[in-house]
Symmetry: C2
Subunit: 128 residues, 2 copies
């Protein structure tokens, strides 16, 4: 299939943890390749190419200012990605409802169970 569409490019860009880390860093303000490379375990050319990928997905823009070239977060394409995913919200909300209903049922049926609340609060880890 096409695979050259905007949405595919954005999701593909987000599929790499290094690129997500770069976007997270840029959320704190513009930065140069050198600055972005510092905390990462890969070479500067590798980061430079990640930036190229992000730029081609329109997730960043870059502007040269003297010797430096700063990368700037461009979040607009994330809106399209969010919108696409949002159409499935009812499915995960639904599932959650069913899960909660089930757990509530289990809980009411075993009246003497200890600390049932632990199970009713699914963990939800965050990543950079």
């Amino acid at each position: 299939m096409s695979r050259t569409d905007q949405l595919s490019a954005v999701f593909a860009a987000l599929a790499d943890p290094t690129r997500r880390a770069i976007l997270a860093e840029l959320a704190n303000g513009d930065a140069t390749v050198t600055e972005l490379t510092a905390p990462l375990p890969i070479s500067m050319p590798a980061v430079s190419r990640h930036l190229k990928a992000l730029e081609e997905a329109s997730l960043i823009s870059r502007v040269r200012s003297g010797k430096w070239r700063a990368s700037h977060l461009e979040a607009a394409p994330l809106r399209d990605a969010a919108d696409w995913i949002e159409r499935y919200r009812r499915f995960w909300d639904e599932s959650l409802d069913r899960l909660e209903a089930h757990l509530a049922d289990v809980q009411s049926n075993q009246s003497t169970a200890a600390a049932p609340d632990a199970a009713t609060t699914p963990t939800h880890d965050k990543e950079n």
Copy 2:
């Protein structure tokens, strides 16, 4: 980098238009590989492998029922993807605010312009 984490797997799965089409189809109900292949321009083995990718990202589950094996949408991982993207909402909302402010400014400055509303309503195409 790792690239084997759950979030990366989900975004990578969503980066392919064929797989997004499959998820969209499954939103209408469970389906077999044969059914999913019918509208697609690729072979059944190719679709079968897309399903494998979706299953490994935990975006679908599959159950054999006699001769058939139905795929079922599992939307829960989409919640994590949505949550990740949501943290950037302020950036695109911000941009939108600036755009709207700019357009309002332009509009008020050219009092006799025709149909200015067309420009204040950015188009926002949806995809399958």
